[in-house]
Symmetry: C2
Subunit: 221 residues, 2 copies
């Protein structure tokens, strides 16, 4: 694997893992020394992460993108559009094996599953569903949206009840899809995403003070 890809992957992991806080300044030279690569691959990695929305230009320099509540709300609307469309396509599939795989993935999460895994599976549910649609653009849209939401979702304070409800909603969506009821699945998905957004934004607004205290930039809605 090329160094550019390595730098990109490691830097993305540090950003998504909050090892570098939202809003923090980045210098090409720091990244260079941190990962033992020269500026050429570093710049390439930054350019790509910029298109992913994980890094942003700040004047002449670079910044880890802040958590942006307005953006989170806009992404929810965007997701509702593309995930509903993907669901309608997926419901028309005759081969249900893809749905089985997604269900197995959901079922693999139990009470003792680490939080990290819940986070990943909760993301992959949506991404893999979009992939099943067979439409590359819908898939990328969902994947990129979930990437942008990743840090916010990680910072969210989720109560047990909310998590259980979300998982139940995933189940009903799968059931509708398996039965070929695309419109119903789309509708459920839209409500599910709306609910997620409300809880997410609410949680972050509550937590805002604490997050700022940790040095995380949180931009208001």
């Amino acid at each position: 694997m090329s160094q550019m890809q390595q730098v990109e992957r490691q830097l993305r992991e540090m950003i998504l893992g909050l090892d570098i806080g939202p809003g923090e300044k980045l210098t090409e030279r720091w990244i260079e020394s941190r990962f033992g690569a020269s500026r050429t691959p570093v710049r390439a990695a930054l350019l790509r992460l910029e298109t992913e929305g994980l890094v942003a230009r700040d004047g002449r320099g670079w910044t880890v993108s802040p958590i942006n509540l307005a953006e989170i709300e806009q992404i929810a609307v965007y997701r509702q559009a593309v995930e509903a469309a993907a669901a309608r396509l997926t419901a028309m599939l005759t081969d249900k094996s893809g749905l089985d795989a997604i269900e197995a993935m959901l079922d693999s999460c139990g009470p003792d599953t680490p939080r990290e895994e819940w986070h990943r599976v909760g993301t992959d549910f949506h991404v893999e569903l979009a992939r099943l649609s067979g439409n590359e653009f819908l898939f990328r849209a969902v994947r990129d949206a979930m990437t942008r939401l990743s840090r916010a979702r990680w910072l969210e304070i989720r109560d047990e009840a909310a998590s259980a409800r979300a998982w139940a909603e995933h189940g009903t969506i799968l059931t509708a899809l398996r039965a070929g009821r695309g419109d119903e699945a789309a509708d459920l998905l839209i409500r599910h995403i709306g609910g997620s957004r409300d809880r997410l934004v609410g949680s972050l607004q509550t937590e805002r003070r604490g997050l700022r205290a940790r040095g995380f930039a949180v931009v208001a809605a």
Copy 2:
């Protein structure tokens, strides 16, 4: 403006203007000498154009993305999802001045308007409509989709009747939006995009032999 941005803009224009044919090989050194910049800004420009889908990796090297009929059909589905969502948002606006501006843009095209201008306005109708939604992600999605479609739309053989019909559809969509009938506008938009896609793909399939003769790579659906 930085050289990277200049190279990016000029190269994009050459690709969209078919000065460099779809499928053609690109070398960083050729671009470097062509635009009088060094490889650093050239590489940055290529990385960005890659995310726009105008340029693709070909093994170790670079290629101008071919015209891809399968991609065009997938983009249509994607557009239907995001443009319908944008239309529903736009219909809820109380301020109709944005719609007035779009209508004025449409009206500025007359019988003696150059083809280039029709192409641009036909694109901007959709992009500006999405911009009015106020949702940055829907806007970018439409803008990027239209960019990817640009070359194919330019190569399309459009008969007078089809163009007139498309323009009439634009008008009815605006009317529905102005009246706040978002669902109707969304439905009209979905049909409009579907019709565009059918004519576009049909035209390209008919033209395929001729396009190949011009050295343009056209990938089948």
